[in-house]
Symmetry: C2
Subunit: 125 residues, 2 copies
């Protein structure tokens, strides 16, 4: 079974996670045969290690980690690869690999730009 | 003239801003008659006050601030309204208003979910 971790930053404010929970629900509906979960870098649970352990318990053998980050700085260039390497070492025989962050995707950037233009027009109409 | 501020978090890593600069370029191409700029909450320049002052110098009289944030926590619920109120007070006669964050937009969430599914399938093909 494939596993998919949607990796987000985390916040002290529980409401912060609502958009990510909405993405999780949408993704799980699109790929019902894949074990999907959220994980957070900090301040929210589960962290990456807990999320991967849970997917392995659910039967996942190949786990893709997709960062739901727009900017691409130290958290993704340094923290996430280190966390992913540690998690891989804990689970011999399980493949854990990292996708580029969402902010590198042309369609995500297009959706963001379209949103900005719609927001401008809505406010002026 | 209308003004539009794309408001992002900021990072110590200059490369972090690249996706936001890409969104800026795309938005400016879609609304060539609007003065558009980026602004950052922290660690990058300009901040919101500098960005709004620049748009006012360029002739903007109504300025919409669109947060390019996915999560909706303390930065947007507390910091941004406080910053926007201070900026409004500095510019009598100029309208500065706040849009909901990008992570509240159904099409942005849909693009994020589609990206996750594509990333999973690409990795497995």
């Amino acid at each position: 079974m494939d596993g998919l971790v949607l990796f987000a930053h985390g916040s002290r404010d529980a409401r912060w996670a609502e958009p990510f929970e909405a993405v999780l629900g949408r993704v799980q509906a699109l790929v019902p045969g894949v074990a999907v979960t959220l994980a957070y870098l900090e301040r929210m649970e589960p962290d990456l290690a807990e999320a991967v352990a849970e997917l392995v318990r659910r039967g996942a053998r190949r786990i893709r980690v997709v960062p739901l980050f727009l900017g691409y700085g130290g958290h993704l260039r340094e923290d996430l690869p280190r966390l992913a390497a540690a998690v891989s070492a804990e689970h011999p025989g399980i493949v854990v690999d990292l996708a580029p962050p969402a902010g590198e995707d042309a369609r995500v950037l297009e959706a963001l730009a379209d949103y900005c233009v719609r927001e401008l027009r809505n406010a002026r109409s």
